[in-house]
Structure formats: structure tokens, C-alpha cells
């Protein structure tokens, strides 16, 4: 029953976010601040993770190719497919659910605990629009971060494959370009865009409607991470079935 109430509450929140918009002059500043915080502030960890995930995927693929009949360029092919289809959009999004999601929940939750949200509401400000809308817009730039993750992941795979002595650079590049389906990139970006909305709104919901003190802010951040991850994984399955199935 509580879950149903939460789903209903979340839906109402999403509608409220788009009502009574804040002045554009103020909103613009808020959006730029959120882009800096949520996107640019996450690039470091995204690049770091993507690089090593790409490298690990390449090494593991190479180590599993024991038959001489399988061409080495499959390492490049497998790296590309894994990174573009899953690791960059989904794996990085789950990391972002932790990094960005907990930041969103704790910052909004702290504002709730310290009555700053009450202060906004008393003034007549639509607090949901003021706090959540800039985050949703900022997260529209998230696909650019995922594009970087794709490049860096594949670069990590190339570096580990070639300098690890598993295959030549030419083999890797040949695998990369082999049977390339452009829609796979489109599919990845569609997923990313939907995940970006999930990452912006579910943690906001948990922060905005939390009650209690500092301890509850921590609990809300954890709950937000769990639910954001669960929703990302379920949405990933549904989108994959719909777009590639």
C-alpha cells in the first residue's frame, strides 16, 4: 500500500514540477548551476569508471577467446557492443544514481529539515519547480557525458587490448567497425535520456517529502539510491525489449 502511495505521490510531484514556473532570469542561473554540479561535477568519475570498465571488458573477452578459430577482432567488437549498449548508459547511470542521486536527496532533504522548503512555500514559491525543474533540465545534458563515457570506454579497451598484447591495433579497429548498427547508439541515448529523468526525479522525491532530522536525510539518500537503481534496471529491461526485442 505504501509503495502505491509513493508511486502516486511521485506522479503528483512530477506534475507539480511543471506548474507555476519560476522567473526565467532566476531559473537560467539555477539551471547553469545544476549543469555545473550534476554534469561537469560528474565527468571525472564517469571518465575514470568508463576507462577501466572498457579495459576490463577487452581483457576478459580476450581471455575467453581460447579457440584459434575465433578472430581476434572480436575483442574490439565485444568491447564496442558492451560499452555502447550497456556499460556506458546503464552501468554509469547506476553509478550516477549513487553520486548525483544522493547529492540531490541530501541537498533537498537538508533544505526540508532546516525549513528552507517551508520558507519557499510560505513566500508563495512553487518549491518543486524551483528545486527540481533545474535538475531535470540539467540532466538533459547527461547524454553528452555518456557519449564521453562511450569514447573513453572504447579507448580503455583499445589500450588494454593492444598494450596488453592481446591483439593488434588494426584488429581492434577492425572489430570496432564490424557490423556496426547506428541504431544501437540511438537506443543507448534514448535509454540515457530516460535514465536522466529518473536520476533527477526519484532522489528529488525522496528528499522533498522526507520528514525528520539529519539521520533521516542519510536514510532518504540510501532509499533514493536503491529505488533509483531498481527503476533504472527495470526500465532498462523494458526499453531493451521495446527497442531491440
Amino acid at each position: 500500500m505504501k509503495y502505491l502511495a509513493d508511486i502516486g505521490g511521485y506522479a503528483i510531484m512530477v506534475v507539480e514540477v511543471f506548474k507555476k514556473p519560476t522567473k526565467w532570469r532566476i531559473m537560467r542561473t539555477l539551471i547553469l548551476k545544476e549543469i555545473d554540479e550534476l554534469i561537469f561535477g560528474s565527468l571525472g568519475i564517469i571518465i575514470f569508471i568508463s576507462f577501466f570498465i572498457g579495459a576490463v571488458v577487452a581483457i576478459q573477452t580476450a581471455l575467453n577467446l581460447t579457440s584459434e578459430l575465433i578472430p581476434k577482432n572480436l575483442i574490439g567488437f565485444a568491447t564496442r557492443q558492451s560499452i555502447i549498449l550497456e556499460f556506458a548508459p546503464t552501468f554509469v547511470s547506476i553509478i550516477m544514481a549513487g553520486k548525483v542521486g544522493s547529492y540531490i536527496t541530501s541537498s533537498i532533504g537538508t533544505m526540508r529539515v532546516t525549513e528552507q522548503i517551508d520558507a519557499l512555500e510560505v513566500m508563495g514559491v512553487n518549491a518543486l519547480n524551483y528545486l527540481v525543474f533545474p535538475k531535470i533540465i540539467a540532466m538533459l545534458f547527461y547524454p553528452f557525458a555518456i557519449a564521453i563515457a562511450m569514447y573513453v570506454g572504447i579507448f580503455g579497451g583499445w589500450l588494454a587490448g593492444v598494450f596488453g598484447g592481446f591483439l593488434t591495433s588494426a584488429d581492434f579497429v577492425e572489430g570496432l567497425t564490424m557490423e556496426f548498427i547506428p541504431f544501437h547508439v540511438t537506443y543507448a541515448f534514448i535509454k540515457t535520456l530516460i535514465f536522466s529523468f529518473i536520476i533527477a526525479t526519484i532522489p528529488s522525491f525522496h528528499g522533498f517529502y522526507m520528514r525528520g532530522g539529519a539521520l533521516e536525510v542519510g536514510k532518504a539518500s540510501t532509499t533514493a539510491f536503491v529505488w533509483t537503481s531498481v527503476v533504472i534496471i527495470i526500465t532498462n529491461y523494458i526499453l531493451t525489449q521495446l527497442l531491440l526485442g
Partner: protein, 255 residues
């Protein structure tokens, strides 16, 4: 003037407000007092429109809040200033940014006009050199003064304060109390203060409402509160040694 008519508010099984009626006059400092758990904060949040009472009505100068549309309620809220217990200043903004915030949100004033208005109200609350400081860089008393400045910058008709001097030393607390009273008279606004500080009652209590278990137990002025025979009020007022002595002196003086 705010008229409160028989308001009830519950949270689940807990019946917090059990039918409170009163009138808060314009230009006066109205105090809501009572022990913790008596319903003071819920009552104040009902007055602010943050909680909707299940029964009864709150009328702000002829406008019944529950009959207003969502937009009209938000417009009315722009006539309300609120000083929160913990000041509720926006951490990421400077003192000037906090005070300017309502002006930026709701007026079309030029930047220079807003800055002038901010200067005026910050001077009014005796804060002249703190414009560029962040809330974390100033003392609790200064934070309260910034909160008051933010609450009055839009020239509100109603000012609400939730325990405005909690956590402050007695001298600063008196300064804050006096500042609120001066502003109430100067701007001719309806001020409602939620407190359990008896010093505030003695200093600025032009009208006092005593709440007990969600009901209005007693209503009067700061002069009347020391003479009342209401047992619940006397138990609350004379709970400290200092006020017991004050009462003793009063009785001796009367005899």
C-alpha cells in the same frame, strides 16, 4: 487582522488542534504560548497555509483562505513574512541574496532598486556590514535579523515568527523581541509569534493565547497573565524560580 474560527487539525489518529478560535489584531504583537506538544507549531503552520485544517476557517482581512484558488493562496502568501525557528536562510546565498530573494522572485524592480530596498531593511535590522557574508559565517542572532529582514522586505501585512529567540542569549533575545515589536508598529502589520519564552511574554505580549492539548486555554495581555487564576497558565508561567519570585513580589505588592 486574522480571524481564526474553530479550527481542527489531525495527523492520523492524533487530534492536534481541537477547535481554536481567536482574533489577531493588526498592528499588535500576538503571542501563542504553551508547553511543547500543545499544538503551537501546528497552529502557526495552519495560519501560514502550510497545513490545511479539516474543520474551521482562517480569514485574512476578509479573505477566507480555504475559499481562495491555488494562485490566490500563493498571492496571499506573498503578503506574509515568516521568521523560522532555525532562521531557514538559504545556505548557498549571501545575506544580501537571501533578503533580495523575494524581490527577485515576485517584483519587476531593477537590480539597483532591489539593492536599495535590501540596504534599507538590513539597516532597519541593524545589519550594515554583512551583505556579502554567507549564513554560516554569521552568528545566530545575526541570522535571526537576516530572517526578519527577508520577512519584511516585501512589506508584508502579516508577520509570523516561530520561536524567534530560541538558541539566543538573553540580551540578543530581547533585542530580537524589541525589533519585532518595533517593526510591527512601524509597518502596522499583524504579527503572530509562537514562543515559550516568558521574557518575550513580558516584553512584547500585547495579546497572548495559551494553548493546552490543542485547545485555547486562556487569552489575555501581558499584564493579565500574571494576575490570572487559571491553574494551567500559572503552572506554565511560574515554572521557573525567577517567575515564582516575580509572582511572590506581585502578591506582596498587591497585599
Amino acid at each position: 487582522m486574522i480571524e481564526v474560527n474553530n479550527i481542527h487539525k489531525s495527523f492520523g489518529e492524533a487530534h492536534i488542534l481541537k477547535g481554536i478560535s481567536t482574533v489577531f489584531d493588526t498592528g499588535k504583537t500576538n503571542l501563542i504560548i504553551g508547553q511543547s506538544g500543545s499544538g503551537k507549531t501546528v497552529f502557526l503552520k495552519c495560519l501560514l497555509g502550510l497545513f490545511s485544517p479539516e474543520e474551521g476557517s482562517i480569514v485574512y482581512d476578509g479573505q477566507k483562505y480555504s475559499e481562495l484558488s491555488g494562485d490566490e493562496q500563493r498571492d496571499l502568501r506573498q503578503d506574509m513574512g515568516m521568521v523560522f525557528q532555525g532562521s531557514a536562510l538559504f545556505d548557498g546565498m549571501t545575506v544580501a541574496g537571501n533578503v533580495m530573494f523575494p524581490l527577485e522572485m515576485f517584483t519587476k524592480l531593477a537590480k539597483s532598486e532591489m539593492e536599495d530596498r535590501v540596504d534599507i531593511v538590513l539597516k532597519r535590522v541593524n545589519l550594515v556590514d554583512a551583505h556579502m557574508k554567507y549564513p554560516s559565517e554569521i552568528s545566530g542572532g545575526m541570522q535571526k535579523r537576516v530572517a526578519i529582514a527577508r520577512a519584511i522586505v516585501m512589506n508584508p501585512q502579516y508577520l509570523f515568527c516561530d520561536e524567534p529567540n530560541s538558541g539566543l542569549d538573553p540580551k540578543t533575545a530581547i533585542l530580537i523581541d524589541n525589533l519585532i515589536q518595533e517593526i510591527t508598529e512601524e509597518y502596522n502589520i499583524t504579527t503572530v509569534i509562537n514562543t515559550h519564552d516568558m521574557n518575550s511574554v513580558m516584553e512584547i505580549g500585547e495579546k497572548i493565547i495559551f494553548l493546552k492539548d490543542g485547545l485555547k486555554e486562556w487569552e489575555g495581555t501581558k499584564h493579565e497573565i500574571f494576575k490570572t487564576d487559571n491553574q494551567a497558565v500559572t503552572n506554565f508561567v511560574y515554572s521557573s524560580e525567577l517567575f515564582k519570585k516575580v509572582r511572590q513580589m506581585y502578591i506582596e505588592e498587591r497585599n
